[in-house]
Symmetry: C2
Subunit: 367 residues, 2 copies
């Protein structure tokens, strides 16, 4: 791995002091901000995540705030998912598409009230798209990036740890719901969500000054739970089929290609900018789609570019994420595969940097 | 420095194979793509840049292409600079602002024809803003990121090297002009521009397949010119006062605060989205502005966050870029300083990670 040169442009987070003290070994850059990727080792971090509880600096999930009378209307313009039934206190996973149905981001939207929404974004400057749309359509709404930095608590002991800091009421938060809880006299949103399949919460820390006090509180309360600093884990997220925008999909792809057709209510999501294009896709169906793949042989190296997939000598897709899974004793991978070759059980070949490998289309991710 | 984890999301460029073979030691991430920052050492790279000629992978300068009848109108909506006198074949440095006059990017625009423009962007997804505006105003224009990757040739011997590959006609290209030149039977734009003060060109390589052939040709032809792989140099660009979006300015800043008031023709740039806000700023003048600063003492560490500036015990600004300059025997720096303290010669204090340092406002950069 190469080194990363520091600069102000690669923004630090309210938790960076804690991350550094915990001995972070590597970063990626996400939304022009530092995102830790390794503490002990990817494998050791993985085992710990599945056994105990971790605190993750995911401040890179920047928020796009919509505020004002047209906030709800604007939110529906951005996504093909029908938002009419969404209540304050709910989180929705919402594909965001442009006028051609191309994915611009795959964030989680939080409805704070009828006139106030946060969009917790993946890796693209969604703020600029939303500001442009709000301006062009002359909507009565303020669009901004507030001083909000999510901190995730993930792992089987997450409920115990978060309950010690915010009280037992957090145990009652349902999946993809959030509530307001007190910390140091301030109201903070705690949601049951996160970029792992191990369970846990995302705490939307409003005000950078609260960042390190909350970090410290979680570590102080969690010593006997073996709490550690962690980060989204490359193995665990592939096993669980959690997609990564920029890795597994780009603006070239429709939600249907990403297996997100169930979030596209093209008959009812009135006002969505990409609706016409997606109606067409929904009728015809995608010709390629994301699939879980098991790649044979020893551990593959890091997937730093798309690896071509071949079937019967022809190119039929590409692998975009891959890692060796200790628990499933195979290389787990995510790839985009043409419909001619996407049936579970189909045997394919993947061109990795270490040479051609056999691969098999799986029926489902390794949940 | 920490390590950077590889992933497809941090995109490689058409020149990455060449960059790796040349022994790149560190990267930054810019527009979600890898940008080399160090080959031999920042100091050795600096000396070589000022003496010989370097080939830079600046594919991170992604292009936003505007094409169609409304391309010119859209371009003028984006910037307060009056574009009426701009001719095909010209490059313009254009601040891009939102409706409040906040800087969204500070790219170079190339006018290919009345109906076709490229915007060669700094580090933000300007594509999303431009697409949003085009959609919202229902403009008759296509907005896209084409397969174009700039390769820069910079240094005192740049003319000699580029003339060997593209012919002597490149010597006649004037500053911030471009022409079409042949390479392997294909037309390529060569512009006299670049992110250094040492002179040179930016070659807009259209088609990723041409990347490595051009890279190889430049190295083959330049052996006796001591050509090397290089990259934008942190010392040289601060000496020369070349600003960096994300470091020295963000969307919090107006062009006037960045010393770019001369590119704001608020009386004549009819249609610019931020015009009303900037007219206000132009009347009142900014209350803070970017200034060159000399920081006393030994070499400062890398500026990975804003360093507070104090004057008379009060906070009056922040340093955002700084480096030790061997040629000027001081720490050269760029900072945003309040008007009460921005007069050249003013003595200030800067809070660096190594403690408080004396600093002096300079009359100009170290050209």
């Amino acid at each position: 791995m190469a080194l990363i040169s520091p600069s102000r442009r690669l923004r630090r987070t309210p938790f960076s002091d804690g991350v550094e003290a915990a001995g972070v070994k590597a970063y990626t850059v996400y939304n022009r901000m530092l995102l830790p990727t390794v503490f002990e080792s990817v494998e050791a971090d993985y085992r710990h995540l599945k056994t105990h509880v971790q605190v993750w600096d995911v401040a890179v999930e920047r928020q796009v705030e919509l505020r004002g009378p047209d906030a709800g209307r604007l939110m529906q313009m951005l996504t093909p998912r029908d938002l009419r039934g969404m209540l304050p206190g709910q989180c929705y996973y919402v594909p965001i598409v442009d006028e051609t149905g191309g994915m611009l981001n795959d964030p989680v939207a939080l409805k704070l009230s009828e006139e106030r929404w946060w969009i917790s974004i993946a890796d693209s400057d969604l703020l600029l798209w939303v500001k442009g749309i709000a301006n062009g359509y002359r909507l009565d709404v303020l669009v901004d990036e507030p001083d909000v930095s999510p901190l995730a608590v993930q792992g089987p002991k997450a409920d115990d740890l978060v309950a010690r800091v915010f009280g037992d009421a957090v145990r009652d938060i349902r999946f993809f719901r959030f509530g307001w809880f007190q910390f140091e006299g301030r109201d903070i949103i705690v949601a049951r969500s996160g970029y792992s399949k191990q369970g846990g919460f995302e705490i939307y820390v409003e005000g950078s000054d609260l960042g390190m006090p909350l970090w410290e509180a979680l570590f102080d309360q969690g010593a006997d739970l073996q709490v550690r600093a962690g980060c989204p884990n490359g193995i665990e997220r592939i096993e669980g089929g959690l997609l990564s925008y920029g890795n597994d999909m780009t603006d070239d792809n429709t939600p249907h290609e990403c297996g997100l057709g169930r979030f596209c209510d093209t008959q009812t999501a009135i006002g969505c900018i990409g609706r016409d294009a997606l109606l067409r896709v929904a009728k015809e169906g995608p010709v390629q789609q994301i699939r879980p793949l098991a790649i044979a042989g020893e551990a593959v190296p890091g997937c730093d570019r798309a690896w071509p997939i071949y079937g019967g000598g022809e190119r039929v897709g590409q692998v975009t994420s891959a890692a060796w899974s200790p628990d499933f004793d195979t290389n787990v991978a995510i790839g985009m595969v043409r419909m001619t070759h996407w049936t579970p059980g189909t045997m394919l070949e993947v061109e990795t940097p270490d040479g051609m490998r056999a691969a098999k289309v799986q029926a489902q991710f390794w949940l």
